[in-house]
Amino acid sequence: MSTAKRLLSGRPTKMRITSRPGEVIDRSKPVRFTWNGREKSAFEGDTIISALAASGERVFSRSFKYHRPRGILTATFHDPGCSVQVGDEPNVRGSHRLVTAGMKVTAQNVWPSLKLDVASANRAAGRFIGAGFYYKTFIKPERLWPTYEKVLQRFAPGGRVSADSPHGSYDKRYAHPDVVVAGGGPAGMAAALGAAEAGARVMLVEEEHSLGGHLRYGSETELAALAELRREVEASGAIEVLVNSAVTGRYDGNWIAILQRNLPHVTERLVKARAKVVVAAPGLIERPYVFEGNDLPGVMLSTAARRLLNLWAVAPGTRAVVLSANEEGDATAADLSDAGVHVAQVVDARRGEQVVRARGAGSLSEVELGDGSKVSCDLLVTAVGWTAPTLLLNVAGDRPVYDERAARFVPGDGLPANVLATGGIVGDGPTAALVEHGRATGRAAAERALARDGTSVTIPSLSPAPHPALYRSRTHGIVDFSEDISSKDLVSAAREGYDSVELLKRYTTATMGPAQGKLETINTVAVLAEATGRSIAETGTTVWRPPHVPVSLGALAGRVLEPVRYSPMQPWHEAHRATPIVAGQWIRPEHYGDPAREVRTVREHVGLIDVTPLGKLDLRGPDVPKLLNFLYVNKWLKLDIGSVRYGLMCGEDGVVLDDGVTGHLGEDHYLMSTTSSGADAVAHWIENWLQTTFPDWQVYMTPMTTAYASINVAGPKSRELMSRVVSDVDLSPEAFAYMQVRRGTICSVPGCVMWRIGFTGELSYELHVPAGYGLYVWESLLAAGEDLSAGVFGLEAQRIMRLEKGHLIVSQDTDGLTQGYGVGLDGLIKLDKEDFAGKQELEWQLERQGYNHLVALLPDDASVVPPEASQIVTGDRSIVGRVTSSRLSPSLGRSICLALVAPQLAETGKSVTVHLPDGTDVRAKVSEELAQFDPGGERLRA
């Protein structure tokens, strides 16, 4: 019994036909899945859509604007009406995705259901809501636009994402093939073979689930040719085959992006291949024909019909009309007959025969031909020509040109040497011709990749075959199936003045949908050409943009690689429940529960803080003093061995860059410290000057930030604590004074550097311990100080104490325009030095005056802590400064602030208005000193 008879006999809608020679389904492996909640069966190898079509389904979605029913058009990845939701994954390409057991597939873009679709009322209104209608309406009243907008949003196409979907597993890989072949049809396979034979390492990338391109659903001769090519590819040791993978783009330097979707352990993988040569072999895409009703389910491309028949053994219909303008159409008619589908009529476009419109309620039932005759059918196959997907060539700088004779765009002559093309994109021919061209192109690619002469390779010519130029019938129909744009919309927009391809595209959104122009670009151009009376060549085409196929965010992100840095004392911090704070790449303890108590520990006893992230740069060589003298605003030519000095760095624009202390450790040997956040920038800054401006200076700079664990021991009992663990350094105030550096042994660990400085304002020692011993020394210090009530403190306590002392933090108390003068360090800047970074601007800053000043502010109400960034305002609410730092000082029992203020406010005792974020104002007074705690620095020098 023929399929037609079987189907017409009223039996359950089974469209699966008997075995086809090239079928890719495994009939011994049935798979069950659900479609809109109903159970469906399939075979392994079925796509979602082939399985549904086999079960008799014809409608898979509703169109974007008019909510017209949509069925199969291409039966490929790019099938515009076949996107479905699979579980929590939206926009799955149902004509490409293979069915797996238990898959939950639902239709998208239908509300409330696929069959009953209230939005289809839009269809009736279609004549009023042509392209660009949004721009012309909802203008007044404007306050109603958000309401309209909400309505429009309901009709947004696409599937759903869910906030509790897991991130999933993704991956990336770098590759360095000599040759990447993009496309595994006959020409691509042959190109890979040709390149491999010539000695190249080849990566062959195919979008479909197996190699072969159009041979897969072709004749028996074509299937035989394919078997031979596959055998050769498998036998070659130099070809890595990636199926169900797509070259998504080519970027600068032949950087080829490949999306690999066929891996068991990851959802998708992005392969980044630095190819020496890439061969574009994407084949051709069949293009739809524009006529009334061309989007009815049952109207499909000839390749779609052949794929359904020959790959999945699914009858695309029962009674067919075939519109054919080429061999593919003829072959489809033959295949249909062969499979038992009744071919009611072949309409031969080469003889001027025409299809004018298709009709049907919900799906196709009748076709009207050019002579006015009507044929009843449930399948209309169109074979009217091809589109060359030239993305890879475009992004390589080539501009495709229109070949009038072949009625398609073909590659121009703008390809760089490392990009070649073969196969259908270049021209047409029998399999042997495609293979011959491919093989030679592959050899040429290898020659170029391996930088050989390559003159021996002759690439046979392959040219596009003549083809009638068929774009639109005498009726109007859909041009962009994803965006629901008709040829009438395009004509109307062109007449309105949106008459260049780019304007038309933007105004109508044609080519902007999920198919990204692969099906609709040429028809768009043809309709525009017709509307403007220009030729297609004059009209030109739009630029294809990457990616060639959509790429998941997961694949683009890949494995999460976010470097984090830890100090050697991290295990201790974790064990003692430090509250972590993210500081760039570093994870640091902000506090250990009670910052105020930590302050008291330091002010009254002794505390340890882990300051490992402080930048530390080892500087060696006879010219280090010159370098320091240039980098810092103060003088450095005379610094005794054993001393440290504070320095401020400015950029060439005079803006404060960084600060820190540098110690003179030994002959031609210094250790510079920088802020934690500025460590890398200062290292680059130094290398920049040394390498580009002062190449004669003999200085070797080595970053040592993490070679040392850095511990600041601060508090009145710090000398006592140090004396218990240091044996080889005289710690007496006379022998080891403030701003001095010593090298010695701490807790039996030799090679430590200690300097006496004090960010907290207390007597303190900053210890730099070989990092491997950091945890040991930290624990030993705490053990040794137990009876001294030694404790630890975190960043927050340190910030409080430095604020009590009025020490600035670069980039908190300064900003991107704060220059050297005015931040409380004016005395440091030595304009009498011959030269230093930023000197010119600082000179001019001083001449100009008018700059802001950093002052300490004491709110009149000592319990009010103005949040940092509170603005300082005048009576008329103009801004004259801002609070840069503020805290409640546990030591003073009151709030204290630093603020950058206009010069007229920078006077001791001046009362200012601080505007708080809650909208209230408070008064505060400018304090005499930046330091509120021990302004004389006696504790520091103890």
């Binding site: 970027y251 600068d252 330097g253 950087w255 980044k272 630095r274 700088g397 060439e652 624009d653 680059h684 290398e687 920049n688 390498q691 580009t692 401006t693 190449p695 011959e834 030269d835 000197k839 010119q840 601007e841 001019w844």
Partner: protein, 93 residues
């Protein structure tokens, strides 16, 4: 991804480098006037075409280098070391 022929390390991805921009020489400190100094700080040639610029190979050899790059095509036709370190310059054929 631009491929930069580091004169020391060979071809590397541009992501290993920090762009340091057009090369402008520093006015000598003694006689710097505001006009030339501010041009040194802020002025740019910004050509659409070949330009000579600095890159810093921070994820590689740690050296500054000079590159001749075309700002429209991003093609690099030559690089050379900023300071002599024993490696020769690289020119693309």
């Amino acid at each position: 991804m631009i491929l930069i022929p580091c004169p020391h390390c060979g071809d590397r991805n541009s992501s290993e480098f920090t762009y340091a921009g057009e090369v402008h020489s520093r006015p000598s400190p003694g006689d710097a006037r505001q006009g030339p100094w501010r041009d040194y700080l802020y002025g740019k040639d910004n050509p659409a075409g070949w330009t000579e610029e600095r890159w810093f190979h921070g994820s590689g050899c740690g050296k500054y280098l000079r590159a001749e790059r075309h700002t429209v095509t991003n093609e690099i036709r030559a690089t050379r070391p900023e300071v002599g370190a024993g490696a020769s310059s690289r020119t693309r054929p």
